[in-house]
Amino acid sequence: MSTLVGAPPTASSALSTATPKPRPFRLVRHSLALAKRSLIKTWRTPEALIDVTLQPVLFLIIFVYIFGGAVAGSTHDYLQFLLPGILAQTIATGAIAIGVNLNTDIAKGIFDRFRSLPIPRSAPLVGAVLGDVVRYVIVTVSTLAIGYLMGFRIDTDPFRAIAGCVLAVLFALCLSWLPVYVSMKVRTPGAVQGLMFALIMPLSFGSNVFVGTDTLPGWMQAFVNVNPMTHLVASVRGLFLGTPLDAHVWWTLAWCAGFVAVFMPLALRAYHRKI
């Protein structure tokens, strides 16, 4: 500590007396700087990715080899049908993690430091949401990789396949404002996890992920047909396999816009109020 004597370094780049420079796109730049922080955290704790990478593997193996023959007549046919659904389901479940992480994070001092800085107040939340893109990409790639090893093949073209992946990642990004909002309102990370599973489970199972909707009873179809997950799965399936897309992509985008329009303002407001 002997180095502590003497003057503190007065930064050559000091901004103490400078008037705020009206530099453009502050929210974007600050959010990206904060997204990088999330990336470093993900990189440093790879074990946090286990759930999102292992879950699709287990689900694919269990459902394809146990139910495949019974549901679709052959395991290969069922794999082709199931993989887009599992991808959508995993990515939606993966969005829960951001709520759990934020709930832990916000209780620590770092968020108070952010709020004492001259940055847009929403930047830390937007940054956290954007930083999760990498997790979703990892989920997508690992699900496709294990699917490929099991015999899954894309029937369309690379362009549409990538469009399907992008749509799934976009859906997760927009949906993640819901867990972000929940994490602002609920006290413990465990409660966020529990509540989000209770919300995501009906959406992911009450859909066309595992079976075609035409096999379901009418009242169930009514729910399944408005379920955003159904639209996402039908879109990804269409883009991967060439099945009819109908208006599913538009419905998916509409749901994405809806999630952002409703939960982003709610989350930001709850964040501003949370002291």
Binding site: T3, A11, S13, L15, R37, R44, K108, G109, S116, L117
Partner: protein, 326 residues
């Protein structure tokens, strides 16, 4: 001289549910000085700092930092302040360097500027060797230094230190004091909260004592010590038979009070003068009295509160709890 007040607060009130954290607190800190805000846990110190650093909005009253209102001009206030406390900390998963560079980027220093500033601060805080380790691997003292470094990235004019040394061992505490002193030498204005009169005395130009969300005293350290009785000299003679002679010498050296036996074999006398310690040592030597313990104490926070309010801080806690329960 009011224009030279960098931190000004009038009548701050903040209520959380039924807890009245602040009940009209005034604070004033002239440029380039240190204000020590002294009070027990739950006195409202942290709430006051959080209001001044724009993290909380007061229910009533107003505060200005460098002339900017903490509510209306919060954005401008945030550009001139640095905040360090038990809560305003760093990201534990990031390394020391990554933390400082992140704050540099957020403070618009630019990529190269942020890197340069991080290097300077890591060097100054003696953290260069640990720069590339995650902050969660740091020791308590290193963490405090990194926390403080993080709040200095933007070279703020005004620095809030919320209990900067709580939990640090005495040597680390003195290191932190040196840091605060050099910040002030370089023109920063510091508001420091503490539970230790000793710390406020060592660093502050003025001390505001807070209790139950109210200011109960505001004075210079000397003035406050005069009120609360200043220092106490404690002596334990090696031979119990020497107690009367030791007491006689202490009474003469002391500031007027009688030397009392405060514990078995330990005598204490109030003193106002720092020379009392050396003088008593010389007198004991001359009288052939050997002592096994000799120490100079500032009153503890409890004693300060007892003098100022007639109750101890601990009693206060019990009363307030009963009030809440009722």
């Amino acid at each position: 001289m009011t224009s030279d007040l960098v931190i000004e607060a009038e009548g701050l009130v903040k209520t959380f549910g039924k807890t009245r954290a602040l009940q009209g607190v005034d604070l004033a800190v002239p440029r380039g000085t240190v204000l020590g805000v002294l009070g027990p846990n739950g006195a409202g110190k942290t709430t006051a700092v959080r209001i001044l650093s724009t993290l909380l909005t007061p229910d009533a009253g107003s505060a200005r930092i460098g002339g900017f209102d903490v509510v209306r001009d919060a954005e401008r206030v945030r550009q001139s302040i640095g905040l360090t406390g038990q809560y305003a900390s760093v990201d534990e998963d990031l390394t020391g360097r990554q933390n400082l560079e992140l704050f540099g980027t957020l403070l618009e220093l630019g990529r190269a500027g942020a890197r340069r500033r991080a290097t300077e601060l890591l060097d100054w805080f003696d953290l260069t060797d640990a720069a590339n380790r995650p902050a969660k691997t740091y020791s308590g003292g290193m963490r405090r230094r990194l926390d403080l470094a993080a709040s200095l990235v933007g070279s703020p004019d005004v620095i809030f230190l919320d209990e900067p040394t709580t939990g640090l061992d005495p040597a680390k505490r003195e290191d932190m004091w040196d840091v605060v002193r050099s910040l002030v030498t370089n023109g920063s204005t510091v508001l420091l909260t503490t539970q230790y009169l000793e710390e406020a005395d060592a660093l502050a130009d003025a001390i505001t004592v807070i209790d139950h969300g109210r200011v109960i005293a505001h004075d210079t350290p000397e003035g406050l010590k005069r009120v609360v009785g200043g220092q106490t000299l404690e002596v334990r003679p090696a031979d119990l038979a020497q107690l009367p002679r030791t007491a006689a010498i202490l009474t003469e050296v002391g500031s007027g009070g009688q030397a009392d036996e405060i514990r078995k074999g330990v005598l204490a006398v109030p003193v106002t003068d720092d020379t009392a310690l050396t003088e008593s040592v010389a007198r004991f030597a001359a009288a052939g009295i050997s002592v096994t313990e000799l120490s100079l104490h500032l009153p503890s926070l409890d004693e300060v509160f007892f003098t100022l309010t007639g109750r101890t801080a601990a009693e206060d806690d019990t009363t307030s709890r009963t009030e809440v329960a009722a």
